[in-house]
Structure formats: C-alpha cells, structure tokens
C-alpha cells in the first residue's frame, strides 16, 4: 500500500467518525427535532457565523471509544461572528436531550480555555437537559467550573453571550445566569432552578414551566433574559447584533503572502505507512508555510542546519504571519537537538515570534553513552525553555510522539494554544512493541529473581494483548476522544487550520519570556 493509499484510508475512517458526530442522536431524533421547528446545533452555528467564513470545529471526536455518542453531545469551535472571532459552543439536543456527560464537560472546559488564552468572546447556544445522571459522579463536582469559567471570562472582559433555545434548567440555568448577555427564544427556552415537580416536593407550590422559567417571564418579569427572540433565527440575529456591538476593533490585515512553494496535496504522500521510516519535515514545511513572495524572499530560513540535524529549526511565515518552526527529522532527540531547541525557543521569545512544533519523535536517546553525555540535563533544558516560553505555541502531531519527546516537543500537557493531529500520528509512553517487550523482560527478571521458570509461551498471549491495546490507545481517534488534542485533521488542511489559529491568537497580545527555570548546564 502506498503512503497515499494508507493516508486516504485513514482519512476515510476519520470522515466516518466525524459523520457520527454530525449525525447526533440519529435520524429519528433529528427528524423529531426538526419537526418541532428547531435547528440542529451545526445548523444554528451555520447561521450564527458570517457567511462564507471558515469554522474550525474543536474536539469533534470527543468521547470516541466511550459509551457516549462521538462528539459528546456538544459542538464547539471557533467561528467569525460579525467579523469577530468567537468561541462557539452548541449543545446537541438530539443526543439524549443534550445532556452533559463527562466528555461534554471536558470539551466545554477546553473551549473555555481557548477563549481565555486567546481573549475571545464566547457564544453559547444552549439547549441541554442537564447532567447525564448515571455519570453524575464524574460531572457534578468538577462541573461547577463551567460557571466559574463564564464569570471569570466576563471579569477578563471576554464577553459571554448565551442564546437559550430550550432547556437550561437546574445547574444549567447558571449558563444564562453567568453570561453577560442572555437571549431566550419565545415558547422554547425554559430556564429555572427547579421544575414544577421539584417545586411541588420542596414547597408544595403548584406551578408550571412557563411561570417558572419561560422566555416571556424572564424577559418581562425576572429580567434574566435581556432579549426575547421570536424564534431560533431571531435569537441568532440578536446574538450577532450583540457581538457586532462589542467594540472589537478590526486588526490590520497581515502582509501579502504567496501560497506554498510545493503542492499541499502531496502531503498525503509524505508520511510513510510505517512510522519506523523517517521523513523530511522540510517537505511538510514547504507545503504548509508561505512560499517565496513579496517580503518573503526565502520560504524557510533554517537555523543551525549543521548542528543537531535530527531536529529542524527555522523561520517561516504562514498566511503572512511570522512563525518559528521546530520539527523532528530523524525521530530521536539527542543532546545536540535538545540544546538547539532550547536556544531556538529562547530566540523566538526574544523576537515575540509564535512557535510551531511538528512532531515525529520516538523520544530522547537512551543508552550509556547518552546518559553519561547528560541527555537528561539537555532534555530538561528543552522542556524548561518550552514550559516557560510565553509566545503562543501551536503543535501538530504528524507521526510518532513517544516518551519524553512528546513533552519536549510541546505535547498536550505543555498547553500549546492549539494541538492538532494527523491521522498518521501515534502517541504513547513508548512504541507498543517496545512496551510489550519491556514488560516481557521485566516479567522474566521478576520470575528469575523468584527462582521461577519464565513461561515465555504463556506470556506471548499477554504480550500480544498488551501490544494490541497500547497500539489502539496510541491512535489518533482514541487520543482525540480523550480530548488529548483539539482534533484530527486532514494533512492538506494543516495550513488553513494553523492560519486560523494564528489569526485567533492575535486577539490577545503577548511578549516573549524574560525568564526561565534554571538551565542545568
């Protein structure tokens, strides 16, 4: 199978899994929702965003591999509303009434983090039946952060807008409650702490939905609704008007730029089906970064090209915006590569240049020679520089991302502004075969130390099972399902995704770091 065929196969599997998220609660549930004259979450978003603008959906595979529907009954993403980049979240009421499960909560937290780090307003399209009760233990206590995030965003002057299309009750009532602006759809929104049965149980009072939490009541009596919308479309219209009045000043357009020098279509041919084969990341850079053009006489100015050649570093532009790139070239990170990375990250901070990390690493080199050469010290320098760097970081996992290499290359735990994964990626503490092999050696040593005979044949089944399980858990859909990235993307979309991210990060000013942790020399 050619590299391209292998990649296309993975892409078709990605499309299948994304389609599951789009299908929401399934045909019947969608039909019932439409019959009520209601729109699906993505239909609401399509109306909310500016016509023809791009929408970058985040964590579409959340909950993949779990008992919950792929997508975790909420859609989140970054869209442009009245020329303003916004974080948008939309409950999917066709999936169990839009109830939040543990993945929903994680996904919304991640969206809130993106809004916070990048200084974006948030528009929440609310219609959720509340918490998924069977998994309440995983949601209830951490879930409180949702409301804390909303009001803290407000305190940071990152506006929050809630458009309430349906149920938003009990804890959910605090979403409109904590938002700066609240719009409720007539005869649809239902916002109360306790519904009629609960009120009856608590106080004996007889009541109904409309008097407890109807849109008309909130608009005219309680004042919780700032606007009463005639229907869903009207709510979206009002939401757009609210964002239009936030007083965001348009930023100057970036410099003119040329499209990449090489055809991005060829990105599908680059990654070997077997990740053991290295590939040249310069070929990727030439297909995602701006080509030679006005103000960009050289597409990629490589830094320290002769030193630490297993890591490529250099300067480029993407959609006219300068970036520094760190990309693994030969998989393994040695001391030289680690020191080169630490220096390059500091240089980017000196010039306030955002950094792009392209992963294809099997980790830091092991072995006597390297340990004695100080590989830990040098790896630590790299991790130190990256951890304390204060320019925005973007990460794309192209291929392998194993061991501490994942950390050094700015993996999820290092909070890059955005992290996306190619379908060809694999990420784990080490390769599945190595991990199983290590387990075997440890088991053998353990047996021998107890004076027992190691049952190599018997262990083969265990080894195989472990290997298969680690393999599965290192694959992109699984990791994306765990919210360990912001989405799996088509390699050909990498430039667009990064361009959108670079545009987004400009909403919040930054300056390069002035201090770092102690570098062990």
């Amino acid at each position: 199978m050619s590299n391209r065929e292998a990649m296309l196969e993975k892409l078709s599997s990605l499309a299948e899994d994304q389609a599951k998220a789009v299908a929401g609660g399934g045909e019947r549930s969608v039909a019932r929702h439409h019959q009520r004259g209601k729109l699906l979450p993505r239909e609401r978003i399509e109306l909310l965003v500016d016509e023809g603008s791009a929408f970058l959906e985040l964590s579409p595979l959340a909950g993949w591999g779990s008992d919950f529907t792929v997508g975790a009954s909420v859609v989140t993403g970054i869209g442009v509303v009245e020329g303003v980049e916004c974080v948008i979240t939309a409950n999917d009421p066709t999936v169990k009434g839009g109830a939040s499960n543990p993945w929903t909560v994680k996904k919304i937290f991640r969206a809130a983090q993106i809004a916070e780090e990048n200084g974006l307003p948030t528009v929440s399209l609310v219609e959720s039946g509340g918490a998924d009760l069977p998994t309440q233990k995983e949601i209830f206590i951490p879930g409180g952060r949702l409301f804390r995030d909303l009001t803290r965003a407000s305190a940071r002057k990152q506006t929050t807008v809630a458009l309430v299309f349906g149920n938003s009750t009990a804890g959910g009532a605090y979403v409109p409650g904590m938002s700066d602006y609240t719009v409720m759809v007539k005869e649809q929104a239902k916002v109360f702490l306790g519904g009629p049965p609960l009120v009856k149980m608590a106080t004996g009072e007889e009541s109904d939905d409309e008097s407890l939490g109807g849109a008309e009541m909130h608009a005219r009596t309680s004042g919780l609704a700032d606007y009463l919308a005639e229907d869903e479309r009207d709510a979206i219209r009002i939401g757009r008007r609210i964002v239009a009045r936030l007083g965001r000043r348009p930023r100057p357009a970036p410099a003119a730029y040329a499209e990449p020098d090489a055809d991005p279509e060829e990105l599908l041919d680059l990654v070997p089906a077997d990740l053991k084969e290295p590939f040249d990341p310069r070929e990727v850079i030439a297909r995602i970064c701006d080509g030679v053009g006005p103000g960009n006489a050289v597409a990629f100015d490589e830094f320290k090209p002769l030193y630490g050649t297993s890591l490529v570093t250099g300067w480029a532009r993407l959609h006219g915006r300068p970036i520094g790139v760190l990309a693994n070239a030969q998989g393994v990170l040695f001391s030289q590569e680690a020191q080169k990375a630490a220096q390059f990250v500091q240089l980017a901070n000196q010039s306030d240049t955002p950094l792009l990390f392209l992963h294809n690493t099997t980790g830091y080199m092991v072995g006597k020679e390297y340990e004695q050469g100080g590989i830990i010290k040098h790896g630590a320098m790299m991790i130190n520089a990256i951890s304390n760097s204060s320019v925005p970081h973007l990460t794309v996992v192209l291929g392998a991302s194993y061991g501490a290499g994942n950390y050094g290359m700015n993996g999820r735990a290092y909070d890059p502004r955005f992290l996306f994964t190619w379908p060809s990626a694999k990420s784990a503490v080490m390769g599945p075969a190595q991990l199983a092999g290590v387990l075997e050696i440890v088991a053998q040593q353990s047996a021998e130390s107890k004076g027992e005979v190691f049952d190599a044949e018997g262990f083969a089944a265990v080894k195989q099972m472990v290997e298969a399980s680690v393999e599965e858990q290192s694959l992109p859909h699984f990791l994306s399902g765990m919210l360990y990235d912001d989405g799996v993307i088509d390699p050909r979309d990498t430039r667009t995704v990064l361009g959108i991210c670079l545009s987004v990060i400009e909403n919040q000013p930054w300056t390069g770091a002035a201090g770092y942790g102690v570098f062990r020399m």
Partner: protein, 644 residues
C-alpha cells in the same frame, strides 16, 4: 447668426443639440431642475442655469424662467427640443419678442397645428386625406371601433379605444378628465380607429416662405400604450408610389401653413387598402429623428439652425440602407410598463462613444445617474444603421443584449425579443404588434447558472471584506455538515432561488455545474460541457445586495434575501404598499371602513400616471396614515386592511 444657444430641455435631447452646436462652434447653455443637476447634459454645456424645483410646472415649463436664463447666460437663440415648451406658441412668441432666435416654426404654425380638430380642417382643405370625425351622438355600431383622443394631447396620453358603443360616453368622460388634469384642456375628439394600422410619418423641412422638402418617412408602428418604442426608416413594405404620395401630402401640409424649420407630418397608414390619413403635424424635432439622419446623411439639428438663421433648404440626399431606433426606457413591461426610478448603477451601451461604426446612442444618462420620478423615463435611444433592415435589426438586438444596464428594470429584453421576432423581421408591424405578441414579454428562461454566479461572487466579495482569517478558504469546515445557502430573489418568481454551494480546500462546488473560476466580479461555470462566463456587479447594502449578472445568455437582476429580518420590520399582512414613489391624490376610504377585495382604497400619482391601490381582501381598514398630497416612497405602507 447664432452664437450662443440655450436648449430649453433636458437629458438626451439637450445633449443631442449640444453635439451639433459643438461641431458648428456655437456655445451652449443648459437649464436644469434640481433633480437633473448631475445629469451628463448639464456638464456638457458651456454654461448651465438652475431652474429651482423639480416638477415640470415649476421648471422646464416655466417660460419666464427659461427666458430669464437665456438673458442671464447671454444666449441669442433658444432650441426647445421636444416636449415641454416645444409646441407652446406663447413661448415661441415670447422668445421672438425678447429678440432671440427661435429655433422652430412661426408661433402661428404651432397654433394652427396645435389643435387636432382645427388642423384636421386645415389639412382637409389643403387636400391632405383625413379621418372621419364622430361624436357621442352621431357614432353608430357601424363606425366601431373608435378612438377617443385629447385635442391637446400627444405621446398617446388621453387616448382610449372604444369597441362597444355603450362604453363611448364613459370613455369620453374619462378622457376628458384625464386631459383636463394632464394638459389643462379637456377637449377630446372621436374618430375612426384603424385596426392593424401603421404609424408612418414624414420628416419635412420648411423655409417659412412656402418652400418645403420631405426627408423620407419613418415607420413608428411599434408602440406600447400608444407611445413609440421602435422606429425605423424607410418604412418597410411601402410601395414607392405610396411613399411618394405620402411625401407629397406632407409637403402640401407644410406648404399650406408656410411652415418653417423641421416638422413631422404623421399619418395613419392602412396597409390593407394602402390608404393613409393625416393624424397630426408635430411642429418640432421628433424623438426618432436620428433614423432619418442616418439614412439620409443629414444633420437635422444643423438644418434647423441654418433655417433659423435664414438659410435656404438643403438638397436632400437619397435614402441609403436602413436605420432602426429603439427607445430604451426605465420601465417594467411585465408590470404594465410601470416606470422605474432610482440610481442607474451601471449604464453602458456598446457604441455609445462612437466606437462601433453604424451604432449611435443618444443617451441622457450615464453610469451612476439617478432617474427621477419627475420626468419621462426614457434612458436612451439606440440606433443602428445597416445595409438592410434585417441586418440593422440583428445588429441592434446584439448591441442591446451586450449593454450593461444595472439598477433599474428596463424594457431592453422586450426590445431585443421584438427585434428578433420573425414577424418584426418580416416587416409585419402594426400599432397592435406588442399586444398581439404576448410571448415577447415572457423573457428568456432564467439561466440556472446566473444565480450560482451571483452567489459565488457574493461569497468572494465577503471574503475580500473579511478582517480575520484572511487565508482561509471560503466556507472551509474541518467537519462538514451542510452546504452554504444563498437566497436570491428572482424578478417575477414567487419563491426566491436558493443556491446551495460548498466551499473549502478544493474551491467551490455546486451541484449540476463545475466552477472553473470565481472572483467578486467574474465567475466562469461549466454546465453540460458548455462554458459560460458571467459578469457580476453588486450594489446596495451587503445584506440586501442587488446583484446584476450579465452573460451572453442575458441579464438577470437578483436581490439577495437577507439572512435575518428583524421581526419588528416585518410588514403586517394586509398592508397596502406603495408600488412606486409618488404622491397620494385621492383617498377613497376612511379608517374603520369595511371594504371588499378589489375595492379601490386610494389613488397614487407617480410619473404622470395614476395608480389605484385596491383592497387585497375583504376586511376593515385598520390603519390609514396617508392623506391626499402625501408623498410616499416605494414600499411604504399606505394602509392596512385587516382580513375579516
């Protein structure tokens, strides 16, 4: 000798006269109303004088102001053009009394020909054939059909055809009322109506001393609402003997009154019998004079000026080839020729600047000009001169279809369809031509590519205006769920057309065609193996943009349906909206009145036409915010009838 000439007129005819003046070295003076201040003819003149106000009665019809303008600007001659004061004997006399040269006939000639009843008697005496007169009392079934005309009328106004004797008194009364309000003279007359009659007229030049020549004839049979829209010279299918007889009759008419200058003797020609009857004599330059000029190689304005300066009559060169003129109007033929007003966002006609030999465009407007409600809505005359009638018709249709006419609905498609109609090409024209060819109004079938081109050009435009995500492909999605939708109103269609399109990494895709390229102004599509390039122009506010799409398959004006409408802006059902800007002349109901569907509610006057606004349903008038005299904008709510 004339050194400085004032044209007491506006728009295309003013420009037309100025052009000859420039060629002769005569300085020019324009007069203009407030609404016309920015029209091209004002800028073309060496001097311009403002006539404050807009209504013709306070501007172009104010003889005193025009004379004062001539004095102030130092003009020594006045050319009246057509319409307005051109056939006003008192004005002609005042011009002469002021010591200025009047480029027109003697005031007495104007008076003699001004009354249709008087002129008819005069012509009958001169031996020119005329139609029999009737009255309400004398008319019998055998005389039907009849036509009622306003004596002081012209240009078809006040004319009514009567086919049932019982209708005659009522039609006479209506025509009288209309003539009274339009011309201040309620005199009407009744004469025989010739079915399938043709309107053939002869151009004459008289020296004022009894000498006169005929400069060929023109056929102006193709009319709408009794107003000419297509004119040509020579008249098709006219035997030379008949043509000569007509020319002689016209010269006799001019000689009978010692006519001076350019004039037109109009005849009703009955092709069945080859007989013709005197209709009237227009004592001025006609709108359609260019066809005569092209065929005879004579500048009629130059001749007018020469005669006014006392020079003799020219030798008339023989007719060469064939010329056809169309009058391009801002009007909606599909809506009973409702006149249109507003900005002409784009107005480009091939050959307008002489770049296409054989094509002549006499225009009063340019791109960006505003067509006001105060005057006639004729935008331009487009004329083609070719070796044969067929060649001229084909070329004229081609020129018109390549024109870019944006902003207002025009009669262009009707003109093109008429010029390409087999009956027209065969010379089978009559004054009833348009009424007998309803298919010409249908317009071409909407090209499904045009709305697609409009949607994609709008998307490209929005991309250019975006201040974030500059490099992202239009409508890019990493998770694909639904196509983009662009809704566009198509004129004449009940439902807007919805264009569903996808954007993204590989560019645009639309079902049923492939998108070869797209920009904010040009879109190339391929459908069924045929490639078509569309020119797209967008004007107006973004959310309700007007999109003009031109291609070899025609022009389509689309209006984008806003994605959102504020419910507060929605119009209550049962609202009666003003169909066009104008003023309310009559309110026929009061608030609270019960009305039945079709009952007249009020009468609106716009562009010199009265429109009755009727109740849409049985109900009660719940709102009535206008009174006689109220000025209303197009689309304004006049009244609300609540359904019972």
């Amino acid at each position: 000798m004339i050194n400085r000439l004032l044209v007491a007129n506006r728009a295309e005819i003013a420009s037309r006269v100025f052009r000859t003046c420039r060629a002769l070295g005569i300085e020019t003076v324009a007069v203009h109303s407030d609404a016309d201040a920015d029209l091209p003819y004002v800028a073309e003149a060496d001097a311009a004088v403002r006539l404050p106000g807009n209504a013709p009665g306070e501007t172009y019809l104010r003889a005193d102001l025009v004379l004062e303008a001539a004095r102030a600007a130092g003009a020594d001659a006045i050319h009246p053009g057509y319409g307005f004061l051109s056939e006003n004997a008192d004005f002609a006399r005042a011009v002469e009394d002021a010591g200025l040269t009047w480029v027109g006939p003697a005031p007495a000639s104007i008076e003699q020909m001004g009354s249709k009843i008087e002129s008819k008697k005069l012509m009958e005496a001169a031996g020119v054939p005329v139609l029999t007169d009737h009255t309400v009392e004398t008319a019998s079934e055998a005389d039907l059909p009849l036509i009622v005309k306003a004596s002081a009328g012209g240009g078809g106004r006040g004319m009514r055809i009567v086919r049932t004797l019982a209708d005659l008194p009522g039609e006479v009364a209506k025509a009288t009322a209309e003539a009274e309000s339009a011309f201040g003279d309620g005199t009407v007359f009744v004469e025989t109506y010739v079915e399938r009659g043709r309107h053939v007229e002869v151009q004459v030049l008289g020296d004022g001393r009894g000498g006169a020549v005929a400069v060929g004839e023109r056929d102006c049979s193709l009319q709408r609402r009794h107003q000419k829209v297509v004119e040509e010279s020579p008249a098709p299918g006219l035997r030379p003997e008949v043509a000569s007889a007509m020319h002689e009759a016209a010269v006799a008419a001019a000689t009978a009154i010692d006519y001076r200058g350019a004039g037109t003797v109009e005849f009703l020609y009955d092709p069945a019998t080859e007989r013709f009857f005197f209709l009237e004599m227009n004592t001025r330059l006609q709108v359609e004079h260019p066809v005569t000029e092209l065929v005879h190689g004579l500048d009629l304005v130059e001749q007018q000026l020469a005669i006014a300066e006392g020079h003799g009559l020219p030798a008339v060169p023989p007719a060469q080839g064939h010329a056809i003129e169309v009058r391009l109007y801002a009007e909606d033929p599909a809506a009973d020729y409702q006149p249109q007003s507003g900005p002409l966002t784009r107005f480009e006609i091939p050959g307008a600047h002489g770049e296409e030999p054989g094509v002549r465009v006499d225009a009063g407007f340019a791109s960006g000009s505003v067509v006001s409600t105060h005057y006639d809505a004729m935008l331009a005359k487009v004329v083609v001169h070719a070796a044969t009638r067929e060649a001229a018709a084909r070329r004229l249709a081609g020129v018109l279809s390549r024109a870019r006419l944006h902003g207002l609905v025009t009669n262009r498609d009707l003109l093109v369809a008429a010029l390409r109609d087999p009956d027209f090409v065969a010379g089978r024209v009559s004054t009833g031509f348009l009424a007998e060819h309803p298919d010409l109004f249908a317009g071409a079938e909407t090209d499904p590519g045009a709305p697609v081109a409009a949607a994609l050009a709008l998307a490209e435009r929005a991309r250019a205006e975006r201040t974030v995500q500059h490099g992202a492909p239009v409508a890019w999605r990493n998770v694909v769920s639904a196509p983009q939708r662009t809704e566009l109103e198509v004129p004449g269609a009940d439902e807007p057309v919805v264009v569903r399109w996808w954007g993204g990494r590989d560019g645009y895709s639309v079902e049923g065609c492939s998108v070869l390229s797209a920009s904010a102004t040009t879109v190339t599509l391929e459908r069924d193996g045929v490639r078509t390039t569309y020119d797209v122009a967008v004007s107006g506010p973004t959310h309700r943009a007007v999109v003009d799409v031109d291609s070899p398959r025609g022009h389509l004006r689309l209006v984008r349906v806003p994605r959102f409408t504020d419910p507060a802006d929605a119009v209550a059902s049962g609202s009666l909206l003003a169909p066009m800007p104008g003023s309310v002349v009559k309110v026929l109901v009061a608030q609270g009145d019960e009305v039945s569907a079709g009952d007249p509610v009020l009468v609106l006057e716009a562009m010199k036409m009265q429109h009755t606004v009727s109740a849409p349903t049985d109900g009660v008038v719940v709102t009535l915010d206008v009174r006689p005299g109220s000025q209303v904008a197009a689309g304004e709510v006049l009244a609300v009838v609540e359904e019972k």
